[in-house]
Amino acid sequence: MSTDTIVRLPDQSTARLPKVNFITKENGLLSWLLTGDHKRIATLYLISITFFFAIGGALAGLIRLELLTPQSDLMSTDTYNKVFSMHGIIMVFLFLVPSIPATLGNFLMPLMIGAKDLALPKINLLSWYLYIIAGGMILYSMMTGGVDTGWTFTVPLSTHYVNTNVITTGLAIFVAGFSSVFTGLNFIVTIHKMRAPGMTWFRLPLFVWSNYAASILMVLGTPVLAITLVLVVLERAFGIGVFDPAKGGDPILFQHLFWFYSHPAVYIMILPGMGVISEVISTFSRKRVFGYTAVAFSSVAIAVFAFFVWEHHMFIMGVSNYSTLVFSLLTMLVAVPSAIKIFNWSFTLYKGSITFETPMLYSFGFMGLFTIGGLTGVFLASTGTDIHLTETYFIVAHFHFVMVGGMLMAFLSGIHFWWPKWTGRMYPEKISQLAALITFIGFNLTFFPQFILGMLGMPRRYAAYPPEFQVLNVFSTAGATILGIGYLLPILYLTWSLKYGEIAGDNPWQATGLEWQIQSPPLTENFPEIPIVDYEAYDYEWLERKEKEVTRVG
């Protein structure tokens, strides 16, 4: 190994994957479909989420292709509307919300806190089945004509003015919501009750903290979305009148209830990503996370404040101007914890000993893009500029910077980081670094022009647009092509590495987390004996002492 990496792999000529691990323990499809093992469920999730991400990504490709020209020539406006609606619904509810918690979180939570499994393994499996049922329903509604309400289901459009599969899709999201409630519930219970002896709250890795915060949001926010969708379905099926202006109902009420969940949902998506970044940055700079408590509490602060800001999605909808003041102010407050995190990560690098493996590159990408995404959020939180920028491509660019530039970068970072632990094999380093670079470039080319388009006033969800917007749209589509390659590469080489990757050993990154102190892939019940934790999180000196000890003994 060269000096500028920390990777320490076992001697490949003699190294073997552990014979007994969670993958080889049992064979056969049923042993997977009926498993209670959190690592197997995480694997199931990883596969299904990748599948839906691919569908959502293909739909995104269609959107960008259509927008290559000002006219709606590739598909009819109706088709376009269905395509962007399905893109939004699949990406939000079937990819972003469950992505990190259900895959990495599921896999790592018990490992990180020193437990044998999540507290409720059957509920965990149920959660995956609910996810699959929801995914199946959404695919079914897509096959049978799709839905063209946008992922926001704005009433009265969704209840009275479209003839598409609103009810099926609404119920699918209801089911997906319960999948995410059960995941969140499971995490909270596990973190509270299943920590190993000595694993105090302030010894928890920050990944656990951020997933804890996200779980609170899932448990408290999702039911409100559920009841909102139930009301939409009832309104559409039976006309109960609650959201129907013709009967005296109030469509703005729908907006309130919908965004009461859907704004916190944004934090459900990004918080676990932030947890990944904390782990990765610390590991590759060989340093404790700067201001551990500040980062931990900022996660919780985001979780709490996330519930106080939803109306900023409705500033121009004719809500009371006085309440916009309250919500605008609160939104400004919720931006602060994110800033705290960014600066703490930056200062984690200070006096570190930094190496630049792929997860670290993705994390750097995250920090840059999330900073832009976060700061442009302030443009929309400020009521004055929100008037001009909302409902345009500015907002599209903003949330893609946060969701794709932030969350997806973090997801890829985490997948690369824990891939050796998960599969016992390394991914190819050089090509993955290239993929990270391609993703970063492609991403910026895709979404940065959209900020300018938004400032120019190009509305979102337009199948056709005035010709002077074409140049920027062409850039954006070109970028999307590059981005597509950037996402395809990891899928290919990670699959390849399952068979041909180098044997990773227990702790290729020399990381301190409990999960790195056991074999990879781990055993079914993770720890042969429940560990007793007597060191702080990110204690690299402890790790060094331990390594020396092992060497000396050996």
Binding site: R195, P197, V224, F307, W310
Partner: protein
């Protein structure tokens, strides 16, 4: 086996005590606290009486206080159900905190939504 079973049995104070995690503050969820049936009967009786009271009060014209009284009685009824039937009175801080956080967020939902509805008429918007 049966002896062991007994040591873990669901008796009020029959647990084996600390064999787990000294750092855990909320280990002793006194789930096993057996509430005496006398309390249950009392609570049920109070609930039934209050149901009668709240129905009766609604026939008296108290102006806006009709709603206040009805909700107050409902809250009281809900509280005793939560405290006694659901054993929260005997439960850990964590359970109480969980319940409280739900009620708090429910209040946030109501209060912030109303912050829009009640101030819409303030001036010409």
């Amino acid at each position: 086996m049966s002896a062991h079973n007994d040591s873990h049995a669901m008796q009020p104070h029959g647990g084996t005590g600390h064999d787990h995690d000294p750092n855990e503050q909320d280990v002793h969820d006194t789930l096993n606290h057996v509430v005496s049936p006398v309390i249950y009967i009392t609570v049920a009786a109070i609930l039934l009486v209050l149901t009668g009271v709240t129905a009766a009060v609604s026939f008296v014209d108290l102006g806006v206080f009709n709603a206040v009284v009805a909700l107050f009685i409902a809250c009281f009824k809900a509280s005793i159900v939560v405290l006694f039937f659901m054993h929260v009175k005997y439960s850990s801080k964590l359970t109480k905190l969980t319940l409280f956080s739900g009620l708090f967020l429910f209040c946030v939902l109501i209060a912030l939504t109303l912050s829009d509805y009640t101030t819409r008429a303030w001036g010409r918007w």
